[in-house]
């Protein structure tokens, strides 16, 4: 495909600056991915899919520096007793991590898996490649080609604890590409927790294959570093009666684009994708979701809530595609923003594309301010204005947070949101 000259130049410049890992079982997939990137070209400003988010700083060869932000917060999921796996600036840190052993689960580093692993070879780059249609996601293909590190996780039996991924930073300039491949065998269940900013610039891909009757839970918090940038992709493929639930908390970060691309391929499967984001000032957050119903009687929910102030920007592009034979589809999509002042903005593009005739799909998108009546009611009971505003803000975010099944995790997320709101008071 011929690219506009500028786009071609930008793509070439980025690819030239990178070293393609060679050798091992990933080589073919990586070469194929390079070809996809060259064919599509990296995102440019005029691309329809990047209408509301400028891709320049995600594409350019050198990342903009981002100061490491030292928080005094304890790791978010420390109390969950998960298998701790630490990455610093996008590189696995064996010393800080637990041993990569968890009963019922095989875990390996992408960077070290030189011997052929059949299950991973069948998945690595495969779900990403499937996700390139009908919309291009070149940054994900770039990731498949050049990812330096990541994990290969194969669940054969349900483990007794979650996997707790912690993404720390030490450098102001790190440009990380992480690629995880997760496979859940039939009937198994896995919870993956992610916490931390990961790098000055992060490009992350997570490919998740959820077999029949398997259940995957994903709860992520993206770190409070103000200047960090991130482009993440989750690609999910769901079998019969399987479940996929992903929740993301984003607080701060100058630029974040989270894409989630899910295919419901088996009947009676369920996918819930949710996000709560809070931004103050120089903050741009983009949730882009694409859910394809390609089986009967599946349920999908997208619940995204954004709290924006001092000129922060929120973007939501969400699509439900219901294929011809995906009868009895139940699709729900809601994206809402709470604008705490007149300077902030929310841009939403909800889409439904339905070819089946027996489906129930609904979508809604709203932008609003704090409810003055409710605020006065709380104040008239003696609750100070700041506390009342935060209480109402948490209430606004609650629908998204409620998508997390585990009550302890919900509370951890709520506490973190509450702490953020306290720090960013009126």
């Amino acid at each position: 495909m011929a690219q506009p000259a500028l786009k071609q130049t930008a793509t070439d410049a980025r690819l030239d600056a990178l070293d393609l890992p060679t050798g091992g079982w990933t080589e073919t997939a990586r070469r194929d991915a390079v070809a996809r990137v060259r064919d599509m070209g990296l995102p440019a400003r005029r691309d329809e899919y990047w209408k509301y988010t400028r891709p320049d700083t995600l594409v350019q060869a050198d990342p903009l520096p981002a100061r490491v932000f030292d928080t005094d917060e304890a790791p978010l999921f420390a109390a969950q007793n998960g298998l701790k796996i630490v990455f610093v600036d996008g590189v696995f840190d064996a010393q800080a991590s637990d041993a990569l052993s968890l009963e019922g689960v095989r875990i390996e580093r992408l960077a070290e898996a030189t011997t052929d692993i059949h299950w991973a070879r069948d998945l690595f780059g495969t779900l990403e490649a499937r996700g390139q249609k009908p919309v291009h996601r070149p940054l994900a293909a770039l990731n498949t080609a050049y990812a330096q590190d990541g994990l290969l996780i194969h669940v054969t039996q349900t483990p007794d604890r979650p996997i707790d991924l912690r993404y720390l930073r030490s450098s102001d300039n790190a440009d990380a590409m992480l690629h995880h491949v997760i496979k859940l065998d039939p009937g198994t269940e896995l919870t993956v927790l992610e916490d931390g900013p990961a790098a000055a610039r992060l490009n992350q891909v997570m490919e998740v294959d959820v077999a029949d009757s398997a259940r995957f839970h994903h709860i992520r918090a993206q770190g409070r570093d103000h200047e960090r940038r991130a482009a993440t992709h989750i690609f999910g493929r769901l079998g019969t009666e399987s479940t996929f639930k992903s929740f993301t908390l984003t607080a701060n970060g100058v630029l974040t684009r989270n894409e989630c691309v899910i295919e419901l391929l088996g009947d009676d499967a369920t996918v819930h994708v949710a996000g709560a984001c809070v931004g103050d000032g120089d903050f741009h957050h983009d949730d882009t979701v694409f859910i394809t119903h390609d089986a009967v009687n599946c349920e999908s929910r997208q619940v995204f809530k954004k709290v924006l102030r001092n000129g922060a920007t929120g973007v939501f592009q969400g699509k439900i595609l219901v294929k011809k034979d995906a009868q009895k589809t139940d699709g729900y999509q809601i994206s809402q923003s709470l604008l705490l002042d007149g300077d902030s903005q929310f841009l939403a593009k909800p889409e439904l594309e339905i070819y089946a005739d027996d489906v129930a799909c609904s979508h809604g998108s709203t932008s609003g301010a704090i409810d003055e009546e409710a605020l006065f009611y709380l104040r008239s009971r003696g609750v100070p204005e700041g506390t009342a505003t935060n209480l109402l803000t948490l209430a606004f975010l609650a629908e998204a947070v409620l998508e997390i099944e585990n009550e302890d995790l919900r509370e951890e997320i709520n506490n973190r949101l509450s702490a953020w709101l306290e720090r960013h008071r009126g």
Partner: protein, 251 residues
């Protein structure tokens, strides 16, 4: 307790005078009732006293135990001991009733420099008070007023009043939307809170609430002013003859 002098209030956004010189004093331990036709300014008086935005005081004063109410934020008035039971209690999706009550109780305690109530103590007290008002555990768990019936909302107002133990309670048409049984329940709740140190201002259209909450003094409000003040018999007179007679009598 509550002293209102020559209070003039207009709408902030419109050139419309609503209160045109209200004079009213409620003593501690007394129940005062304000009756009046629609549009007489009764609800505006309750909003202005509790600190709602949108009104401008152009003249006069309002004090609670000598403290200038009009100078305080809504939450400060509450901490000073003022409570308004809303005519239309607000629904707040996503905020649990218990969380709301506890936040309010502790915010007021904090504002007054008192120690916060512990979770256990709070639970004990709230359960006892809720039981008196026939508010079950389910209602306490639900988001504030969401899906509550008219009667449940009013009972929830009285529960808040019971938990916050204000010095001065204003009840704005608490009887509206209530059937006889619900009114009795609400009135019992209010009567249980009557005490020497507490004043009440009961705003109502009808005399029937005053059968259950017996007032010491009854005021008739019309055209933004108190036009007549008397004993409980004044309420009966209104019930029999309506407001028109009274208003022409004064005019």
């Amino acid at each position: 307790m509550l002293e209102i002098k020559n209070l003039h209030v207009k709408l902030e956004d419109e050139d419309k005078q609503i209160l045109k010189g209200v004079d009213l004093t409620v003593e501690a331990g007394k129940v005062h009732a304000i009756m009046g036709p629609n549009g007489s300014g009764k609800s505006t008086l309750s909003y202005v006293l509790s600190g709602k935005d949108g009104y401008e005081v152009t003249e006069g004063s309002a004090t609670l135990e000598g403290i200038d109410l009009l100078d305080l934020e809504a939450e400060e008035r509450a901490a000073a001991g003022l409570f308004l039971a809303f005519q239309y209690p607000v629904e707040i999706p996503g905020v649990g009733n218990m969380t709301f009550l506890r936040t309010a109780v502790n915010a007021q305690r904090k504002a007054r420099g008192e120690e916060e109530m512990s979770a256990a103590e709070f639970l004990k007290v709230v359960r006892a008070r809720a039981k008196d008002l026939k508010i079950d555990a389910e209602m306490l768990k639900r988001p504030v007023n969401v899906g509550f019936s008219g009667g449940e909302k009013k009972r929830n107002e009285i529960l808040q009043m019971a938990m916050l133990e204000p010095k001065m309670c204003i009840l704005d048409e608490t009887d509206s939307g209530l059937d006889v049984d619900a009114m009795k329940l609400v009135a019992d709740g209010v009567n249980a809170l009557r005490s020497e140190g507490r004043g009440f201002l009961v705003i109502t259209h009808y005399q029937r609430l005053l059968d259950h909450i017996k007032p010491d003094v009854v005021h008739i409000m019309a055209g933004g002013r108190i036009i007549k003040t008397g004993g409980p018999e004044l309420a009966l007179e209104v019930e029999q003859n309506g407001y028109t007679d009274l208003m022409s009598e004064v005019a």
